[in-house]
């Protein structure tokens, strides 16, 4: 089974959970003996898996020209590597964040960039940024051009596209190869923006991707429900595969002094989706019972300034610690001083951060509006908007050492079963299922119709 997989980001160059999930899934799929051709808009060279770098792919060239320009593919295990002398200096995304001008844009906006077109004798190629900059929609479109090109260069059985950024690439690959397409929904525009602020362009891309896909994988039942109700996708076509978690590697980090005995942490992008305002309202209520409690608000995002203003307005700034964007080591430091982690997300397809908290030995409180709430019994759950319930839960964990201890221990045990290996097994089965459907489809077409027709995007019912 060979899979042409499209991603947008890959560790260590990530801004969210998408890249982490792609890494976990890919590694485990390889263990399932799947061969993964993983494409990213821009590879940096220091990823843990060999990637196809879309920035190095020539488009608009003939096959002979491509062969003469692209060096031969070297196979390494089950993943492939294309060795191409990169003309691009690797940079880290973090540096780009630091360059950005205002704090509210630290996490998601980048210096104005345009896609560079490089014309060589064999054709042209696009230098993608692979970030989330102003040229994003343009990059998404060009990425699909590259996808069509790649179908000519590689043979594969299934196409697998992660999140809306790669759906057009997936659709294009399907059109030019006639192979089945899976779109993997890690998040929807409804989660990110909320009902009222949907970006129609993004929604349209998502809608088209899910419509044209032969199968949709949702990371939770919560997400499947959105896919079915908001995008009107046939429920039979949507499969739920929960994410896994990569066992944490031991890391060295310098120990932070613990500023208080009671530290409550929010960690994530400070955006509408993550519900930071509910964290602050709950914090205000917690302080009435635990006047020495301190709150860490780690991360950055467009709501950060408004959150600082709210905290200042409540006159609790001296109990709040805004950290801005954190790197991996700093996140470990935050976990090491946290007594409880709260994820009051308004709509969270899955929620990898609570799992990381549990791994680090921090009890978690998550909103009912999250995928993680479906799979975790040993987490306290509350509705994101119910700040009384959130405050009660926080107070409970701070007050009762026994509760905290049992959440920690049972939580750790519970997540042992949430592995990428399990997710990869399910997905590998789905690949085979799709492939056999396609084969039967092809046979039935040749039997029942004289002329071959375009493959239907609808899964036939047998």
């Amino acid at each position: 089974m060979t899979v042409l997989m499209f991603g947008w980001e890959f560790p260590p160059h990530i801004s969210g959970g998408l890249g982490t999930a792609c890494l976990g899934l890919t590694q485990s799929l390889i263990e399932e003996n799947a061969k993964i051709l993983f494409v990213v808009p821009r590879a940096h060279g220091d990823e843990r898996i060999e990637l196809i770098n879309a920035s190095e792919v020539l488009v608009g060239a003939t096959k002979e020209e491509v062969d003469s320009v692209i060096p031969p593919v070297k196979s390494e295990g089950q993943s492939i590597k294309i060795t191409v002398a990169s003309t691009l200096a690797p940079y880290t995304d973090v540096e780009q964040w630091q360059q950005s001008s205002t704090v509210e844009k630290w996490n998601y906006e980048f210096p104005a960039t345009t896609i560079k077109e490089v014309v060589t004798k064999g054709g042209k190629r696009y230098e993608f940024t692979g970030t989330y900059g102003p040229a994003l929609l343009d990059e998404v479109q060009r990425y699909s051009e590259v996808a069509a090109e790649l179908t000519k260069q590689y043979t594969f059985d299934v196409i697998h596209a992660h999140d809306w950024l790669t759906y057009p690439a997936g659709i294009e690959a399907k059109r030019s190869s006639n192979k089945p397409l899976i779109v993997h929904v890690h998040a929807t525009e409804f989660d990110r923006a909320g009902e009222k602020n949907i970006d129609k362009r993004v929604f349209d891309i998502e809608y088209q991707g899910m419509q044209e896909a032969d199968m949709v994988i949702a990371v939770s039942q919560w997400t499947k429900d959105i896919v079915v109700s908001k995008y009107r996708i046939d429920a039979a076509k949507v499969k739920v595969v929960h994410n896994g978690i990569v066992p944490q590697e031991e890391t060295d980090f310098s120990v932070l002094p613990k500023i208080s005995e009671h530290i409550v942490t929010f960690l994530g992008r400070i955006t509408y989706q993550k519900g930071p305002q509910y964290f602050i309202e709950a914090a205000r209520k917690v302080l009435l019972h635990f006047p020495d409690a301190h709150f860490i608000m780690a991360g950055s995002g467009d709501l950060l300034p408004a959150m600082m203003e709210r905290v200042a307005q409540l006159r609790i700034s001296s109990h709040f610690h805004f950290t801005g964007f954190l790197k991996e080591k700093q996140i470990h430091q935050v976990w090491s001083v946290s007594n409880v982690y709260v994820m009051p997300s308004v709509s969270e397809p899955f929620g990898i951060t609570p799992l990381e908290a549990i791994q680090a030995g921090v009890p978690v409180i998550v909103s009912n509006q999250s995928g993680i709430a479906e799979v975790m019994d040993h987490a306290i759950k509350a509705d994101f908007w119910d700040t009384d319930a959130l405050a009660n839960a926080i107070i409970g964990v701070l007050k009762h050492k026994a509760l905290s201890k049992s959440l920690k221990a049972s939580g750790k045990k519970e997540i042992e079963t949430l592995t990428w290996s399990q997710a990869a097994k399910k997905i590998n089965d789905l690949y085979h299922e799709l492939q056999s459907i396609k084969q039967i489809e092809a046979i039935s077409e040749s039997v029942f119709s004289g002329t071959p027709t375009k493959a239907s995007s609808k899964i036939p019912v047998f």
Partner: protein, 349 residues
């Protein structure tokens, strides 16, 4: 504080100050050592900082200030009274309409209750040099020395004092040397010197020679900053107020530790600039704040400041614990000593 930095990094500046002081034509004013808003925090803290600055000027320049200039010309009747009680003979304030109420900024005034001379700054003429000198959109641009002196000449003779007040860095930093600001300054001074109609005078000399009749009074705190000329440049929004209050809450604990490092760090955090950077004002005021700020946004300024305050708070907590432990150990030791000397104390019934 700047004096400390001069000592460490640019001692030549201090040499130039000493040379200036020796001419007798330049006077050094009193200030708060940390350029702080400490008069809002605690009276004793304010007095301590004024005293520390005075001591530093005496040590470095060899003169003792007798006229005061509060942080950013922040002034009220209460501040005036305090300065008088501390032995100052005069104080600078901004000559704004709100307190002059139609009267001229070009004369000295007196405090309503104390024998304290008030020196208004003519902000219009001062800002012509400090802000507008190099602005090509200003209808008086370019400002020539002749034009400026002509404006001074138009002031009626009975208005016998003109206070021009601007930052030291106006010359060479805000207004670059290439724009001719040094030449301008030199020429204005030589024209004025030759005219004989004007003279330059040190404030303490004014105090000695003149007697101010008219009273200038404001119960409201004024300053020279922003359009509002009040405290809103530093304490105008919630971020600023909560940051300021968060620091102030630590005041007594820090002073009580008697720990010189902690107290010095605490006082550095009182510097008004920290709060100035957190201003979220827009348009003209906002541009001035941004010009001075090393941060790209007020939120970064706030975030950084609060994290430093949190660290200080933690250090104070540790210090208090350490001192409490030491005190306890000492008490135990003295009890034991007493017990040895007086066995009946240890005896049990």
């Amino acid at each position: 504080m700047a004096l400390e930095q001069f000592q460490e990094y640019a001692p030549a500046v201090l040499d130039s100050f000493r040379t200036l002081a020796a001419t007798g034509k330049v006077e050094f004013l009193g200030e708060t050592y940390y350029h702080s808003l400490s008069f809002l925090t605690d009276k004793n803290e304010f007095i301590a900082q004024v005293g520390k600055h005075k001591q530093k000027i005496e040590e470095l320049i060899g003169v003792s200030p007798s006229v005061f200039r509060n942080t950013e010309l922040i002034y009220s009747d209460t501040i005036g009274s305090m300065m008088y009680d501390l032995g100052f003979k005069g104080i600078y304030l901004d000559g704004i309409e709100g307190i002059l109420k139609g009267r001229s900024p070009n004369k000295v005034y007196t405090h309503p209750d104390k024998d304290l001379m008030l020196f208004p700054r003519n902000y219009a003429l001062s800002d012509d040099i400090a802000f507008r000198y190099s602005d090509p959109n200003w209808n008086q641009w370019p400002l020539t020395p002749g034009k400026f002196v002509n404006w001074l000449q138009q002031i009626p003779a009975e208005q016998n004092y003109i206070g021009l007040g601007m930052d030291y860095e106006t010359f060479g930093e805000h207004q670059k040397a290439a724009g001719g600001i040094f030449k301008f300054l030199e020429q204005v001074i030589s024209i004025l010197a030759n005219l004989r109609q004007f003279g330059f005078i040190n404030p303490s000399e004014v105090v000695k020679r003149e007697s101010a009749e008219d009273i200038l009074s404001t119960s409201k705190i004024i300053s020279w900053a922003d359009q509002a000329r009040d405290l809103s440049a530093w304490l105008g929004n919630d971020l600023q107020r909560d940051a300021f209050d968060s620091l102030n809450k630590l005041h007594h604990d820090i002073i009580d530790t008697n720990n010189a490092d902690l107290i010095d760090d605490y006082r550095h955090l009182q510097t008004s600039d920290h709060f100035y950077y957190m201003s979220t004002k827009k348009s003209d005021d906002g541009n001035v704040h941004q010009y001075f700020s090393p941060y790209s946004s007020p939120y970064e300024a706030f975030m950084n400041y609060m994290n430093v305050v949190a660290d200080l708070e933690w250090r104070v907590k540790k210090e208090i614990e350490k001192q409490a432990l030491k005190f306890k150990t000492q008490q135990m030791e003295s009890l034991v000593t007493m017990g040895i000397n007086n066995p009946s104390l240890i005896g049990s019934s």
